[in-house]
């Protein structure tokens, strides 16, 4: 199925355009509630998607500023579908990776989407994001894969 967004020729998979990352439902909602305060709709999502693409596909690792910029854009967006949670999880995963590889220092005073920039907090938030993402998964296999990913990213605990 073709994406309904103007000027986009991407194909939809699981209701999400593979080119622009906008979900069909979000487009419909944007048409229904144009300019609704607190509901940024398509333009915000496009911007976040572009940012994320840049971060994920860039040859050079993303710096703290890139992540914070993307996170700032996320803060104005209500994650209510698969793609939003996935993007949020990807952002957090990138941050965790940066911390693991020592490309970024942990900093409790800096917040990434309201989460202090420490590994424990990021892992917890990422696990939560992936579990929420699993809630929107279309197939059983996808859900299992997301929960497995959530468990693999979660902080090791005693119980």
């Amino acid at each position: 199925m073709q994406c309904k967004k103007e000027g986009c020729e991407g194909k939809l998979k699981d209701g999400i355009c593979q080119l622009c990352g906008v979900s069909a439902a979000a487009l419909e909602e944007a048409e229904e509630y144009p300019g609704y305060p607190g509901y940024p709709g398509v333009p915000t999502r496009q911007s976040v998607t572009a940012n994320m693409k840049q971060i994920m596909e860039s040859q050079t690792p993303a710096c703290k500023a890139d992540l914070l910029e993307a996170a700032q854009k996320f803060e104005s967006m209500v994650p209510d579908d698969f793609a939003s949670w996935r993007m949020q999880a990807n952002l957090l995963l990138t941050a965790i990776k940066q911390l693991e590889l020592r490309q970024m220092e942990p900093d409790e005073t800096t917040n990434l989407m309201g989460i202090p920039l420490t590994e424990v907090n990021l892992r917890h938030a990422c696990e939560k994001a992936l579990r929420n993402c699993a809630h929107f998964a279309q197939t059983f296999e996808d859900r299992v894969a997301l929960i497995d990913e959530a468990n693999s990213v979660r902080q090791v605990t005693w119980f």
Binding site: H124, R131, H135, T157, F159
Partner: protein
């Protein structure tokens, strides 16, 4: 065109592809199956042990003992009757012998009832019926002989006695032997079979338990690695409880097995040897009395007496009895099994199987008193062969301190004392072995169910993570 895949195929493919929730269910199924198998094998093993104990302690051994006691009672009745027919009617010895006959009759009747109440195997009923039927006949024939003796018709009394003896010899004693054989054969067979089978199933229980512990360990490691949670308390609980129960189960089964071996090898074999010795002693005593009473069949009876004595203990003429006694006592004092190649018979078996406190003294005393009794019998036989009937009668009847009756009494006392020690040990060993198995059967079932539930409780939260309706409400997402 895509055909819809069947759910079973999907499930199998998912299981093979290591899809976590399916893998968790597969592991749970494996644990459940393992516990079911463990429970079944445990219950079967416990039942096998209980069956072997029941055979030795309740079914066969008491019947073997009853058969021997019937034989002993009958031989005592025969001896008392023969002695009574040689005594003067109305006098105290005759009255005492009559009372002795009556006492033994009551003992025999009680033992017949006891054997009948304990009929377990098909082959037991016919001998008991035969004993019961022929006993009435024997009692009537014995009374005829007694009446004729009281009327002063001693020659006719002896003829009547011969009829009574033939009933005893041809009908009752072989039936008592049949009853003994029916039970002792089953006992030996069951013991031999179930001893190896129970050892095998005990090993199987142990192996199954170990495998189950390994599976639970694997499950715990799998959960720990996949879910980043170090400990899963219900599964740790399952492993610990299973390990404790396995230890308890194998030690209880081992204890029961040891109890069974002790009951059979150490106590029952001694009881059997001592009962054989006692029955042979009574038969020898009765044969000696018959030899005195029935001159026509004297040689036959004296041979029967000698045969019976040989069944108790036999050794070559060139080896003196006291030497054997000394060798046996020395070995037993040193705590060794006596090496007596020259000695055969029931007492040789008993001397080779001395295990319990006081048994050594009893066995030595039995052999010592037997040697005395054997000498007195030989003395009396010699007198009878020489035609010195009055002297033989003096030695055989009454309570002359150097007579056969006194020697027989002392020998019988020693046998009874040793028998009592072994009988008590037999009962105690069986009771102890049974006590070790108490509650194991329901315990295995309850524990298996409990541990399957514990394993499920350990897996449930992890499985639920993959269910769309539950994971959003997970409490542990809170920090």
């Amino acid at each position: 065109m895509n055909r819809p895949k069947s759910p079973v195929k999907q499930l199998i493919r998912a299981a093979l592809r290591d899809v976590t929730p399916i893998r968790l269910w597969v592991l749970f199924a494996a644990v459940g199956f393992g516990f079911t198998l463990f429970c079944v094998v445990s219950v079967i093993t416990v039942r096998q042990h209980l069956h072997a104990l029941k055979t030795v302690g309740s079914d066969a051994a008491p019947s073997v003992i009853s058969a021997h006691r019937i034989k002993i009672g009958l031989a005592a009745m025969d001896g008392a009757l023969a002695d009574e027919l040689m005594s003067v009617c109305g006098q105290r010895p005759a009255r005492e012998l009559n009372a002795d006959f009556e006492k033994n009759r009551l003992d025999v009747c009680r033992e017949i009832v006891s054997a009948a109440k304990n009929i377990t195997y098909e082959k037991e009923q016919a001998p008991i019926e035969n004993i019961q039927l022929a006993l009435g006949q024997f009692l009537m024939q014995a009374q005829t002989a007694r009446d004729l003796h009281q009327e002063g018709k001693d020659a006719e009394a002896v003829v009547a006695y011969r009829v009574a003896w033939s009933t005893l010899k041809d009908k009752i004693l072989p039936s008592a032997d049949d009853l003994n054989l029916a039970n002792s054969n089953v006992l030996e067979e069951t013991y031999g079979r179930e001893r190896s089978a129970s050892a095998l199933s005990r090993g199987l229980v142990l192996v199954l338990g170990m495998v189950l512990i390994c599976v639970l360990f694997y499950l715990h490691i799998y959960l720990s690695v996949h879910f980043h949670r170090r400990l899963n308390l219900p599964i740790i609980f399952s492993v610990v409880i299973l390990a404790i129960f396995l230890r308890f189960l194998t030690s209880a089964l081992g204890e029961s097995s040891m109890g069974l071996t002790r009951a059979k090898e150490e106590a029952y074999n001694s009881v059997l040897a001592l009962l054989d010795a006692r029955a042979s002693a009574y038969l020898a005593d009765a044969a000696l009395s018959r030899g005195l009473l029935d001159h026509e069949n004297m040689q036959v009876n004296l041979t029967a007496c000698k045969d019976s004595l040989d069944r108790i203990a036999s050794f070559p003429d060139n080896v003196p009895g006291p030497v054997i006694l000394y060798t046996a006592a020395k070995s037993l004092d040193a705590g060794r099994k006596p090496n007596l190649p020259n000695l055969t018979g029931a007492l040789a078996q008993e001397l080779g199987n001395v295990q319990f406190d006081g048994e050594k003294e009893g066995a030595i005393d039995s052999f010592e008193t037997f040697l005395v009794y054997r000498d007195r019998c030989a003395q009396q036989r010699q007198l009878m062969t020489d035609g010195k009937d009055a002297d033989a009668l003096c030695l055989g009847l009454g309570f002359d301190p150097h007579g056969t009756n006194m020697a027989f009494g002392r020998f019988d006392d020693a046998l009874v004392r040793t028998l009592r020690i072994n009988n008590t040990e037999l009962e105690q060993s069986v009771r102890k072995a049974r006590r070790a198995l108490q509650f194991l059967e329901p315990g295995s079932i309850i524990l298996s169910i409990l541990l399957v539930i514990a394993t499920y409780l350990g897996l449930r939260p992890r499985i639920q993570e993959y269910q769309a309706e539950s994971f959003l409400h997970r409490k542990n997402l809170r920090r």
